[in-house]
Symmetry: C2
Subunit: 165 residues, 2 copies
């Protein structure tokens, strides 16, 4: 990662060399902010990949870890999990009922300072543990993220279905 930044920074300086002082400053500023944005974007994509892993592996502790301290989990037809303790319990309950095999498709990520959001779709199968039934599962998700101590976390998360069952 550091190497990439150094190479990118060198390229910026080289290109900026042929421009006026004000142009140079503006060019470097724009490039810097582009690098920042793509760094943040990558971190959020990784966070979503980790979240998918937590769901697929029924790992409630990992799911909990990915939230901010004041995080809120708002699953369809279930009460909100507010804060780390309740979030852990919510996921433990979910994973005691079902096993998920799903993949997230990221539709968009938008970032503003230390806040961001993403819209995703998830598709796959749900295995209902009580009766062994496996069925198709698909949802649409809205995530709000916050950057806390340099790390992106899930701050608010809601999902619902795009059609009646």
């Amino acid at each position: 990662m550091k190497k990439t930044i150094i190479i990118l920074a060198s390229s910026i300086l080289l290109v900026a060399f042929g421009k006026s002082s004000i142009q140079k400053k503006e060019y470097i500023q724009t490039k810097k902010s582009e690098i920042m944005t793509s760094e943040n974007r990558l971190q959020i994509e990784n966070l979503l990949a980790e979240y998918q892993k937590a769901l697929v592996n029924s790992d409630a502790k990992l799911a909990q870890f990915l939230y901010t301290k004041d995080g809120i989990f708002m699953p369809t037809e279930a009460p909100s999990g507010v804060g780390k303790e309740e979030i852990l319990k919510s996921y433990e309950f979910v994973f005691s009922q079902i096993q998920l095999d799903i993949v997230f498709d990221i539709k968009e990520i938008e970032i503003e300072g230390d806040m961001a959001f993403a819209v995703t779709n998830s598709e796959g199968t749900v295995h209902i543990l009580a009766n062994g039934v496996k069925a198709p599962e698909s949802n649409r998700e809205l995530f709000v993220f916050k950057k806390v101590s340099g790390e992106w976390k899930i701050a608010r998360y809601m999902f619902n279905k795009t059609s009646a069952k």
Copy 2:
């Protein structure tokens, strides 16, 4: 509103008068940002009040007006309405099926630059137009807002139920 700002600004200057130059600068900066935040908060509260009005009056045009150009409406068990055209059609369809009499309870609003989010609950009754049945209706909402040309708009909006029907 202008009067309030002038009074607040005068109070800031008066209080700042007794402090050192750096303290004064910091104090004014903090107070300015507090006023900005509460101004933004008020505008978002007004936006949510307008949205409630759109729902209660079955006013699809008003609902549409409250979204950003690239807005996305993600209602439970229905496809996403993406962009102004689809958003209007989605609300027109909803209002052709049901009439809502609900009140929003704002749980929280958080703002970062030109992005913000809110979690709300809504409660009231739904009148199903096809059969005349009236039933209790309650939902939990996650709004993402964007400030466009100085005005807060709904950028993304999803809702779901907190318990099975």
